[in-house]
Amino acid sequence: MSSVQIRDVRKSFGNFEVLHGVTVPIEDGQFVVLVGPSGCGKSTLLRMLAGLENITSGTISIGDRVVNNVQPKERDIAMVFQNYALYPHMTVADNMGFSLKLRNAGADEINKRVKRAAEILALAPLLDRYPRQLSGGQRQRVAMGRAIVRDPQVFLFDEPLSNLDAKLRVAMRTEIKELHQRLKTTTVYVTHDQIEAMTMADKIVVMHDGIVEQMGTPLELYDKPDNQFVAGFIGSPAMNFLKGHVRVNGVAAFEGPNGVKLPLKTAPAASDGRPAVYGVRPEHFTIADDGAEAEIIVVEPTGSETQVFAKIGGEQVVAVFRERHQFNPGDKIRLKPDPSLVHLFDEATGKRLNA
């Protein structure tokens, strides 16, 4: 196990720079998730960490050693690929033991370590099968087994769950997290799915267009997003954004679209009339007489909660209620955001304005 330091790393393909100076400190034993929309550079960063891509500038160190010019096989890392990259002509046992075989480990040693990994992942009955004969989830586990057998300093996961169906994805998510809690190996996990990031990470790194937007624990990112991008990316259903102006007339308030009044706990200093974006999570709406008038468009019950799509001042918002209201499309209701949980962003830069 090792810490990993990514310092001001840049990556260019020809003249096109895809990573613009990324710095990510990763502590020993941490589970770090790199998350962002496709094309944000998260997979490239992971591949640079693995040694599959060159580092244009900056440094990456694993433990105390700068690995910029270290061959992938000497970095002591193991990677789980999106398509698993299992060797089709080898049995499960051979797949898992391949790296040990290349290291000239003895047959007994290989057997012992493969067996141990197979037990951890419940793969023992499948050791003689070929990848073709396995289901998606089993292949996924073999790919992880191949990584575990090596007992590396760092595990790298490149969108490992995106080829699985929804139910299996949830199950494997838990399995990977449990595995990490058991082995405590430093892990870097790339995904575009913010729910995976939220549920698994010790630390989330939100990336966008080749820069780090924000780093922190899942709840830090959820409670206090640094900017509008992170606010919109983390959380499901996504945060509602309403454009308008800050008003400070005795009480702080927000004037939303078409003059809708929305509550604000405190206004940023000297900000009367300042154009801003008002952000409120769907779960932070309540039904209250002093709420903003909203017309219901669609009601989507999911059982545990109900998602209500409504229009406030002509803008569509979504609200989530745990309790079961009797709503019908066309109904007029009054939605009130919880002022202490409201986010305010600069309209131009998207930076967070309230504390």
Binding site: A50, G51, L52, P72, K73, I77, A78, M79, F81, N83, A85, Y87, P88, H89, M90, F98, S99, L102, R103, R129, Y130, P131, R132, Q133, R146, R150
Partner: protein, 317 residues
């Protein structure tokens, strides 16, 4: 049939319906769809093959209907040293040329699979020997290996390596080397391009995974590329061996089997005996004698081609 039992006003109706039924019978229709292909195979493959085998048991000559002579032709061949020389030549030619075609073809395929400038152009260039008609390239080689005007002899003389021209096609050893060389030159593109196609089906992430697992480039080839390529190698080499074994054009255009029968293959000897000398029966016997060898080659590939366990689908054993 049900409609037989039902009394009908017009008896013709049942005839009509039988024909209509036949028209709509899928097997009947399927039979007619197969007829063109069957006719083609029967007239151009099965019939000539059968005729050749039949002729080998007769004493047919050009212009004279033969009589059945049982295995007399084969008994003659058994004691014919030229026939045995042609068998040896054919095996030598096939074995050496196929082995070298495989080695060079695989090397070229691996090279062309790398990222390099002008990749598409290089790949196209590799195919050139394949698209030149065999006889034309054979004629070119004939000139290259000519005893007086050979460009190789000329170059080596001017470089001071040799004093007099090499008698490429007049010396038995040189002649064999020359025809094998020409065959390799012509056969390499087929092997290279087919293996290249096979290489491109190997997912790059397998190499990345192997690299992270600690494989060197050689180990990547040895443990990933080669095993994944074996099915396609089996196909390519079967075809390559069959084509080489039955080669005729190159030899006939370059040496006509000479010197002193040193380059006579079974195919060229058969042609010489059957068409040039007119002994159709004996020529057919030589041709038929190739069948066991070809069958053996096909058997080898049959077992080589059998789907390996790892290629099989969902079965659980």
């Amino acid at each position: 049939m049900a409609d037989v039992a039902i009394p009908r006003a017009k008896p013709q109706m049942s005839e009509d319906s039988a024909w209509t039924q036949l028209k709509h019978n899928r097997n009947w229709l399927g039979f007619w769809f197969m007829v063109p292909a069957m006719a083609f195979l029967i007239f151009f493959l099965a019939y000539p093959l059968g005729l050749g085998i039949w002729l080998s048991f007769t004493d047919t000559r050009i212009g004279r209907v033969g009589h059945f002579v049982a295995t007399e032709n084969y008994e003659w061949l058994w004691d014919d040293s030229i026939f045995w020389l042609s068998v040896f030549n054919t095996l030598l030619y096939t074995f050496v040329a196929s082995a070298l075609k495989f080695a060079i073809g695989l090397y070229l395929a691996l090279l062309l699979n790398e990222n390099m400038p002008f990749k598409a152009m290089l790949r196209a260039m590799v195919l050139i020997p394949f698209i030149v008609p065999t006889v034309l390239s054979a004629l070119a080689f004939w000139w290259i290996f000519d005893s007086q005007f050979s460009i190789i002899s000329w170059s080596l003389r001017h470089l001071g390596v040799i004093d007099q021209n090499i008698n490429f096609l007049g010396d038995t050893t040189w002649a064999r080397i020359c025809v094998i060389f020409a065959n390799i030159w012509r056969g390499v593109p087929f092997v290279a391009i087919t293996l290249l196609a096979g290489l491109q089906t190997v997912s790059p992430s397998l190499y990345e995974a192997a690299t992270l697992d600690g494989a060197t480039r050689w180990q990547n080839f040895r443990f990933i590329t080669y095993p994944l390529l074996t099915p396609i190698i089996a196909v390519v080499m079967t075809f390559s061996v069959l084509f080489t074994f039955t080669d005729f054009q190159l030899i006939w255009a370059m040496t006509r089997g000479g010197p002193v029968n040193a380059t006579h293959l079974m195919a060229t000897l058969s042609y010489q005996r059957a068409i040039i000398a007119g002994q159709l029966g004996e020529g057919a016997a030589i041709s038929s004698a190739m069948i066991p060898f070809l069958l053996a080659a096909i058997m080898v590939s049959w077992f080589g081609l059998q789907r390996r366990k790892w290629q099989q689908g969902e079965s659980n054993d």
